[in-house]
Symmetry: C2
Subunit: 413 residues, 2 copies
């Protein structure tokens, strides 16, 4: 069966806002096995919305519209659907009461404009909206359906999850459920992951195995997907394959599914009972910003110091020796000196120091030193990356925190 | 005249990447006065690309495709355009030499696949690609045209700017140029701006005046747009209106056009010769991260201190008195104490301190205190925002830096 998405809104068409809804809806539709062949964006114009709907209905089984169901004059999706299906719009008291209720809870009164939002094409299935003011609907005709959801992203998501996907699952007679587990990796490249589990990817049928590189956050995600008659039996299909992958990729895997790198590290730090301090320089890493935002950071994060000027460093860090390595906040020795200074000043168990230079010309690499000082010494990691690499700062932030994670895992044994 | 955009690519359709190209192209098309009525996304499927092209050609004068002109088997835009226009694809030696040349510069050799990229529909105008490997083309037919550009964003932008817009300007006989000036404001709401310049907005014809609120960065942009026979005369039309707006909105306007808030503040700080230090707490503001990233930060940014634990504060800041106001890193007094501590510890002219509590329940506001310590005393600004406000951390970061800007403007007189 085929599905098609229509995003309605002149502001989308003119590029004043970027359409992220369609991407989300597209992803959701694949989970119920619908084929998506077209996505269209149309402005707030009745005739053009109608013509887009007609084209879509002629070639797809399910047409999902997003946007254009607000209370104002230029919200025309409702009218367009009704006219294309040749049905009147019918006022639904229950929907109106719900809209009124929503306004009441916000301490506002419903206006006459909002009456229009409670109108849906005759015979359509209403979809209530507990998270906003625009109700949606599903209008079936000749074995096809137009499904109308709001354009406000969090409302649209609520509709998809609570009404649209259950409706589609029912319609499509989907008894099988699709269950996925995502393993998340940092500190290893996509081709290396591919090399280590190529045979599993190629031989994988249930679960199938997919790799996705998230360049911006430097993570590789391995997705294991199974089709099973019920959720309960999914684990028995996924677990053995997951075990094999974990055996091959070990500590590069920092978490699964909803885990975040920061969440996992924060839990590890809290379990360890160790405290941490960090010094950053003018390199754009954001270790301190990340640490302070972590859950429970008060329990483990003692101090963050940001220095862009070398002359401040020695008095502040109460160092016996002056800044090594040329007196600049750069290089391996300086990073170690900063990490030890952070640890000393904060009286913490661990100290992180990072120095870095961003490559600006071809042939010049980004050069970063990440130092971790602990009770048994100081380790410095050197990182060279090609000058053209984007997201270098994010990557180095994570690499520094990844060193902390590695230390904690080893300390735990 | 009407234009239409077709984005080609299964990864776009399935939402694996979000289509930002269409938004950019849409914005550019408005600058040459074209009406954009539809935007469609289609997967890498020959028949469906052809059908989308046919529908587009039937209702629009210019059809712009982006994507699907790479070297691989699933790049099918070229073939689809040729078939829809009923013309053969013709190999263009000059384009192929250019592709080969690009590979040579990268130190790689061109492959046979790339030959395909040098093929364009017979009679089409080739567009060379000095920034990548995929050449584009403009194929005219019956007074209409299909314009094919790459999907890689920076290549697409290069094509639009250097070939497509000049072509459209020529075709549309545009002698007039459209010139805009954007005034950027922070620290004032959209409705307040609207109220103060409503008469100018309503009466504005050349320039027309538009308001746009950028919620995420907390800025309001006022766009003045004129149509003029030449760029030189634009200033004489814009300047008087801009002058009137500046009179009414004064220092809320921090810059114009390409100015950024950070860039303007950095220039002000460097001009003033004053130095600055900042203390942040566990509130998610990123004042220190922002300051260290500013151009020339070494000249003015002395020190950033991040404290999430109150017990570290007194010894570090070498304060005579302990943390006031209940001993927590919260509230007006604590913010002032931190700002003074930052100034004392760093020996800087200015000290910034920020404390904050994020509202998590309905009825509980976000409550933030921003303190600026200088040679004549310490000023503390209290900010209350509704609990549901997103981007509160960005907003408060900017509000703190805005206090610095205000101080510098006043000090300058």
């Amino acid at each position: 069966m085929k599905a098609e998405i229509i995003a309605v809104g002149t502001e989308l068409l003119l590029g004043q806002i970027v359409d992220t809804n369609s991407a989300y809806i597209a992803q959701q539709l694949t989970t119920v096995g619908l084929d998506l062949h077209f996505k269209c964006t149309v402005g707030d114009n009745l005739e053009r919305i109608k013509s887009t709907l007609r084209t879509a209905l002629s070639r797809s089984d399910f047409v999902i519209t997003t946007g254009g169901i607000g209370p104002t004059l230029d919200d025309l999706t409702r009218e367009a659907v009704a006219e294309v299906l040749n049905r009147p719009l019918v006022f639904q008291l229950r929907l109106f009461e719900q809209v009124s209720d929503f306004f009441r809870r916000l301490g506002r009164t419903v206006s006459d404009n909002n009456r229009k939002q409670a109108c849906i094409p005759e015979g359509a299935i209403p979809i209530e909206n507990p998270v906003g003011t625009a109700p949606g609907f599903i209008a079936e005709q000749n074995g096809k359906a137009i499904i109308t959801v709001p354009g406000v992203p969090h409302e649209m998501r609520y509709f998809m999850e609570h009404s649209v996907l259950p409706y589609l699952r029912e319609k499509l007679g989907i008894r099988e459920v699709i269950v996925s587990r995502v393993l998340k990796l940092f500190g290893i490249g996509e081709s290396m992951v591919d090399e280590r589990i190529k045979d599993l990817i190629e031989g994988g049928t249930n679960p199938t195995i997919g790799l996705l590189a998230h360049t911006q956050i430097g993570e590789i995600h391995i997705r294991l997907t199974v089709k099973t008659p019920d959720v309960a039996s999914a684990a028995s299909l996924i677990n053995p394959v997951e075990g094999e992958i974990r055996k091959r990729l070990g500590n590069f895997i920092f978490g699964a599914d909803e885990d975040t790198f920061e969440g996992v590290l924060s839990a590890l730090l809290r379990q360890s009972g160790l405290t941490l301090a960090a010094v950053e320089t003018s390199f754009g890493s954001s270790i301190i910003q990340t640490l302070k935002g972590m859950e429970g950071s008060k329990d483990f994060f003692r101090l963050g110091l940001t220095l862009v000027n070398p002359d401040m460093a020695r008095p502040l860090l109460r160092a016996a020796e002056s800044l090594p390595g040329g007196g600049e906040l750069l290089g391996e020795e300086a990073a170690g000196w900063l990490a030890e200074g952070a640890r000393r000043l904060a009286g913490s168990d661990l100290g992180l120091g990072l120095t870095g230079r961003v490559g600006k010309e071809k042939g010049q690499d980004h050069l970063v030193h990440i130092a971790l000082a602990h009770s048994r010494g100081t380790e410095v990691l050197e990182q060279r990356w090609p000058f053209a690499m984007r997201f270098i700062e994010n990557r180095m932030t994570k690499m520094a925190l990844s060193q902390v994670r590695k230390f904690l895992l080893e300390a735990r044994g």
